[in-house]
């Protein structure tokens, strides 16, 4: 749907013909700019509506209005999965920020012969007050976020919510789910235990198998062709600095588009 703007609604021409004072012109220009971007006119209508509404009443949802509840109520819990994965993401972010106070990304050996990173996790688990709870919450919220995201994707597929006006959000969702998995991967490499090390080995092998850019990619992501201090630092920076910014921004965009386009009808 592409529509030509009509000349009579050329607000700039209208502004000129009005012959305004400087103050009026500045005011009106600001108003036009803001309204074009934020649709202030809609919010004024909302205010108007609220002002005159004496008996407040929840507007009916689509399913209530058309009496579809009896048929489709069972979809409803599934419609909260997206929101719920955002909540799990927030819980993981908060607990992760707190874990970051105690974690040290280093593979250097401690006196006990274990890597410093591993030892710091051990300290969190054993010595720090509620440290085990913090790590537990962080880990479980990450796991549950992944589960919620996958189920969210299934819900979107089986209710056809990815269709025509919403393609961009589906693509954004694919990017987000991939980045979430990278988030998880970089996260479970950090304790530098056996699982972390050998998962890292697989990552390096995968990267090296790609022709032309593979070696360059391995150097950039893993800091070389074998695992060590550069690897854990890269994973740490990815996990606590780069990915949080990128993923949070994309989530905001994803939710913003849902807000603008409306939730797809549950049938």
């Amino acid at each position: 749907m592409s529509l030509e703007k009509r000349d009579e609604f050329d607000h700039h021409a209208w502004l000129k013909e009005k012959d305004l004072t400087a103050i009026e012109r500045v005011f009106l220009t600001t108003l036009v700019v803001l309204d074009k971007r934020l649709r202030i006119v809609d919010y004024l209508e909302l205010l108007e509506d609220a002002y005159y509404k004496i008996n407040l009443q929840m507007p009916k949802s689509h399913t209530e209005q058309y009496d579809l509840d009896n048929k489709f109520w069972y979809w409803y819990p599934l419609y909260s999965l997206g929101f719920f994965s955002v909540l799990a993401y927030i819980v993981a972010a908060v607990s992760g920020a707190l874990l970051g106070f105690y974690y040290a990304p280093s593979t250097a050996s401690t006196a006990a012969g274990t890597p410093v990173a591993y030892a710091s996790i051990k300290t969190i688990m054993q010595d720090i007050q509620f440290g085990f709870a913090l790590r537990s919450i962080h880990r479980w919220s990450a796991q549950i976020m992944m589960a919620a995201v996958f189920l969210h994707m299934l819900r979107v597929y089986f209710t056809g919510s990815y269709k025509e006006p919403r393609e961009v959000n589906w693509l954004l969702g694919i990017i987000l789910i991939s980045l979430s998995m990278v988030f998880g991967y970089t996260g479970y490499l950090l304790p530098w235990n056996q699982l972390a090390f050998w998962a890292g080995q697989i990552g390096v092998k995968m990267s090296l198998s790609v022709p032309i850019v593979g070696e360059w990619g391995a150097q950039m992501l893993f800091g070389g062709f074998s695992l060590g201090q550069p690897t854990i630092i890269r994973m740490y920076i990815l996990h606590v600095f780069i990915l949080p910014f990128v993923v949070t921004a994309l989530i905001a965009l994803h939710v913003g588009i849902v807000w603008v386009q409306g939730i797809a009808e549950p049938h």
């Binding site: 305004l20 309204d35 056809g160 009808e265």
Partner: protein, 288 residues
């Protein structure tokens, strides 16, 4: 109060006249003019009514009140009227079919509904975290390869795709040599799967929303979901007591079989389902 009719005319012609402030201000205290004119002449000793009147067609709207003012607010009003009219005309020119409800609003419907469910889930999450704290395995040891190497569960499907190397074809012209390495084959399989999923909305368009309306696409979805499990089982092939060739067959045949069953089931349900839906639809929008 005899000039009520002329006032109304002046108000509805787009607000070009501003000189009618005197006559309209008398009406701005709310309520239809014809009813209040009788009581306002009498002397009221009880303080009168609240002045709050349920909105009806006679009550001036917020923008109508705004219209009577001068200066910047007048300017604001004029601009908003213009942009409102612009929207209206664009809507009328558009070939887009307007429906009553295009989607139901995020606030308050979705947020309240989701909030209740989500608070429950956050509580549940913390409960699980308290009950099942994560273990800490042995520290990294490059010289001891563990017998089972597995990523977290949500990467099993990807790890399973990496183990598709038995399907990497050897070419006769290369004396059974492979054109791409087994590792690259796995990486490409990942890219193909993610790419196919990303391409979905460009293949399946239209307004059908529910599985019964499109049994084929529902079958594809169920098949895909089943494949994500069977391929994940391939990732843990050394834990499953089946020969590899049989397992590879299951990986690809099970999704097709279950997808076909889904298709058949939905085709069977379809008639009854669509009957009910059509009945509802035509009750709302009777055919002309």
């Amino acid at each position: 109060m005899s000039d009520t009719d002329t006032t109304d005319d002046a108000r509805t012609d787009g607000g070009e006249e501003t000189a009618d402030s005197e006559s309209t201000n008398t009406r701005a205290d709310g309520g239809p003019a014809s009813e209040t004119s009788g009581t306002s002449s009498e002397l009221r000793s009880d303080g009168g009514e609240t002045g709050i009147v349920a909105p009806d067609d006679e009550v001036p709207t917020w923008s109508e009140r705004k219209e009577r003012k001068a200066g910047l607010s007048r300017l604001t009003y004029e601009y908003f009227e213009r942009s409102r009219r612009e929207d209206q005309e664009l809507r009328q020119e558009s070939d887009y079919v307007e429906r009553d409800v295009l989607g139901f609003p995020t606030w308050p419907h979705e947020i309240i509904r989701n909030g209740a469910i989500s608070l429950f889930f956050v509580g549940m999450m913390i409960l699980i975290a308290a009950a099942l704290p994560p273990s800490l395995e042995m520290p990294a040891n490059p010289s001891a390869t563990p017998s089972i190497i597995l990523p977290d569960w949500y990467l099993y499907w990807s790890f399973g795709l990496l183990k598709l190397n038995p399907l990497n074809p050897g070419l006769a012209v290369l004396d059974g040599g492979k054109i791409i390495s087994d590792q690259l084959y796995g990486v490409l399989a990942n890219i193909v799967v993610v790419g196919a999923v990303a391409f979905l909305p460009f293949l399946n368009k239209g307004s059908a929303r529910r599985p019964v309306e499109q049994p084929f696409w529902a079958a594809i979805g169920v098949g895909g979901a089943v494949f994500s499990f069977t391929i994940a089982a391939l990732a843990v092939q050394n834990l499953i007591p089946l020969p590899l060739s049989l397992q590879l067959n299951i990986v690809f045949i099970a999704p097709v079989v279950i997808g076909t069953m889904t298709y058949a089931l939905l085709k069977t349900l379809r008639e009854g389902y669509m009957y009910g839906l059509n009945r509802r639809y035509y009750m709302l929008r009777p055919p002309k």
